[in-house]
């Protein structure tokens, strides 16, 4: 289980981005992390994989644990070795490498013996990549690049895969493909933390979902419940019943939250 408890992150000693977040990714599940722009979703991922210091951020409170062991003091290479793979937002392929080289780089921490088997696994998972194996990654289409970076992260055999907006800028058909691939990856035994703007796609495959708003978790429910929740339907799925739009009822979970605390 990958879990964080009351995590607080401050950038530049000045900007408090995460205000005490607790969430957990149980082994073998897909967990969706939703939220508007600037809610702190990417910061959550950075905190897990030790990328905060690059952005002059710091974890000031709370813990992140992997199977009970704290990992929030680790740097990025150490977290990869510990079994956490991250796919960063916006398709960061090594543009001058071929697809094959991109994937092999992903196996940097893995045993040498596993590389061929893993390459095989990735190429069966992404047949498109197999076709483009010797091509320079910078010339791939957006969807293929996204597959390439997901494959690259999988080469290290992570037990937990963090995906940051894999649907960003892709055609709806490709988004469906990516979605199915995430499910396939999960079925092969990798737990997934899926950060998404595309709530529809994320909630369709996730078992549990968190909604983040200005650095706080405002909803923490099974995905099936979230899919039916009026607020989520309205704000994240863009579904609204005609005529029911009274702004008095807007975001009532916020009010509920205030009563609780």
């Amino acid at each position: 289980m990958l879990a964080m408890e009351n995590l607080e992150v401050v950038y530049e000693d000045v900007i408090l981005v995460l205000k005490g977040i607790s969430l957990s990714v149980p082994e073998g599940s897909i967990v969706a992390l939703l939220g508007a722009n600037g809610a702190g979703k990417t910061t959550v991922l950075r905190a897990i994989t030790g990328l905060l210091d690059v952005h002059r951020g710091k974890i000031t409170k709370g813990t992140i644990t992997l199977d009970g062991k704290p990992i929030h003091h680790m740097d990025a290479p150490a977290t990869v070795a510990a079994g956490i793979g991250q796919v960063m937002e916006g398709r960061r392929t090594f543009t001058e490498f071929t697809v094959d080289e991109n994937l092999r780089i992903g196996a940097h921490t893995a045993d040498r013996g596993t590389v061929e088997a893993n390459l095989d696994r990735i190429y069966t998972l992404f047949p498109r990549l197999a076709e483009r194996r010797k091509q320079v990654a910078g010339y791939l289409s957006g969807g293929e690049q996204q597959m390439c970076v997901i494959g690259r992260a999988l080469m290290a055999e992570p037990r937990y895969l963090l995906l940051d907006e894999p649907s960003l800028g892709l055609a709806p058909l490709i988004v469906q493909q990516i979605r199915d691939l995430i499910v396939a990856i999960n079925e092969q035994g990798t737990s997934v933390l899926l950060v998404e703007q595309n709530a529809n796609m994320a909630l369709a495959i996730a078992s549990h979902g968190y909604v983040l708003e200005t650095g706080k978790v405002v909803m923490d429910k099974p995905a099936a419940v979230l899919r039916e929740d009026d607020d989520v339907r309205e704000f994240y799925l863009g579904l609204r019943e005609e005529g029911a739009a009274s702004f008095r009822d807007v975001k009532h979970y916020k009010r509920r939250k205030r009563w609780l605390s």
């Binding site: 401050v10 530049e12 000693d13 000045v14 900007i15 408090l16 205000k19 005490g20």
Partner: protein, 382 residues
């Protein structure tokens, strides 16, 4: 408060709204003002008054050293415009400073058997000291604008070596290696800024007069640079620095922006170059070498990249640091016995650049900014 609300409040109509809220701006102009808060106004005034008072409190050599700070600051502002604001790394700043120095000597220096000089008024030689390097800068810039990053650094590095050779060989203007030449005569319409004078009944020493002159020039050029930086052109500089292709897509002409940045930067360098020999007495062509360029880079790195006040802080730091080491050396272990004072100065210089690059890339000004923001933001709102 939404944007629309702030727009509709006029300062006159709603004094009550503004009372006790010094940072609520109702006009874009006030938000963009140079001294946009009351405390900034106050402290700038205090700082200027203190600077004007200093030459009466300090000894001759310290006044001269502070004058050097002002001159380095002018050069530093120039480099900051092209490197800090426009993002074009230039290692060739020493060349432009040197060019300014020798232009000033040619137009304003006294001729002799071996040296050429026109003995013109400072009203002519000082602008010329800026304009000639600017023209050369404009000539070089189209080449420099074609390359980026490391390649640009190497290209501008080449300038320093070309310059060193030229300055060494043009003996009738520069005096030649190891000989050097005295600075131009800083005389405006018969008033010499480097001679003991009596002004309004006050007897002022020449260091003091030149100190005031350089300070006034620094203030003028600093304000001009700040104004440039917050103008349309300054925003174009920053856009080119942050993402040149995106800037181009927004309609910022890359070539022209880079050329202007180089031109303005070289102008500042030239002015600093014209004043430098006057302040130090005489100058050798060897002075304008790579190390001199690096000194200017250190000024903006340590002071603060893309800030005018940072350039001034950095200049003060770089110019005063050797003196500080010299003064404190007798009280420090190792220095003087194991390493000489000079070597200690150089080591400290190098170490400081590394430390600032690693720990605070925005320099001393960045440290101040962080401190200020911390107190503004503290305590956090949950």
């Amino acid at each position: 408060m939404t944007e629309q609300n702030t727009k509709t409040i006029t300062p006159k109509a709603n004094r009550a709204t503004l009372r006790g809220r010094p940072e609520l701006y109702t006009e874009y102009a006030r938000d963009q003002a140079l001294l946009n808060t009351a405390s900034k106004k106050l402290w700038t005034g205090v700082l200027v008054a203190f600077t004007l008072l200093l030459p009466f409190l300090l000894g001759r050599d310290l006044v001269g050293l502070l004058t050097l700070v002002f001159i380095y600051a002018i050069g530093g502002i120039g480099l900051n415009l092209v490197t800090g604001y426009a993002g074009q790394v230039s290692l060739g700043h020493a060349f432009f400073v040197g060019l300014g120095a020798y232009t000033s000597m040619f137009f304003g220096g006294a001729p002799s058997m071996t040296l050429r000089g026109l003995e013109l008024d400072m009203l002519i030689w000082l602008p010329m000291a800026g304009i000639v390097p600017m023209l050369v800068g404009l000539l070089v810039a189209p080449l420099a604008a074609r390359v980026r990053g490391l390649y640009l650094a190497i290209l501008t590095l080449g300038l320093v070596f070309v310059g060193e050779h030229l300055f060494r060989e043009a003996r009738t203007i520069t005096g030649g290696p190891q000989v050097g030449r005295r600075g131009a005569i800083p005389e405006v319409l018969g008033f010499n800024f480097y001679e003991n004078q009596e002004i309004l009944g006050f007897a002022l020493r020449r260091e003091q007069i030149f100190y005031f002159f350089c300070f006034a020039l620094l203030v003028v050029m600093g304000v001009l640079a700040r104004n440039l930086a917050r103008s349309r052109m300054g925003r174009a500089f920053a856009a080119v620095r942050d993402r040149d292709i995106a800037a181009e897509v927004m309609g910022v002409p890359l070539l022209r922006t880079k050329v202007i940045a180089f031109g303005v930067s070289s102008f500042y360098a030239g002015i600093a170059g014209g004043l430098l020999p006057v302040a130090v007495g005489a100058i050798n062509p060897e002075r304008f070498n790579l190390l001199f360029s690096v000194e200017f880079l250190a000024i903006i790195l340590i002071g603060g990249v893309a800030t005018i006040s940072g350039s001034i802080i950095g200049a003060a730091f770089i110019v005063l640091l050797p003196r500080l080491v010299q003064v404190t050396a007798p009280y420090l272990p190792l220095i003087g016995e194991v390493v000489s004072v000079e070597i200690a100065q150089r080591m400290l210089f190098g170490a400081l650049i590394v430390v600032f690059l690693v720990l605070e890339p925005r320099g001393i000004y960045g440290m101040w900014l962080r401190m200020r923001n911390y107190w503004k933001a503290w305590p956090f709102s949950y």
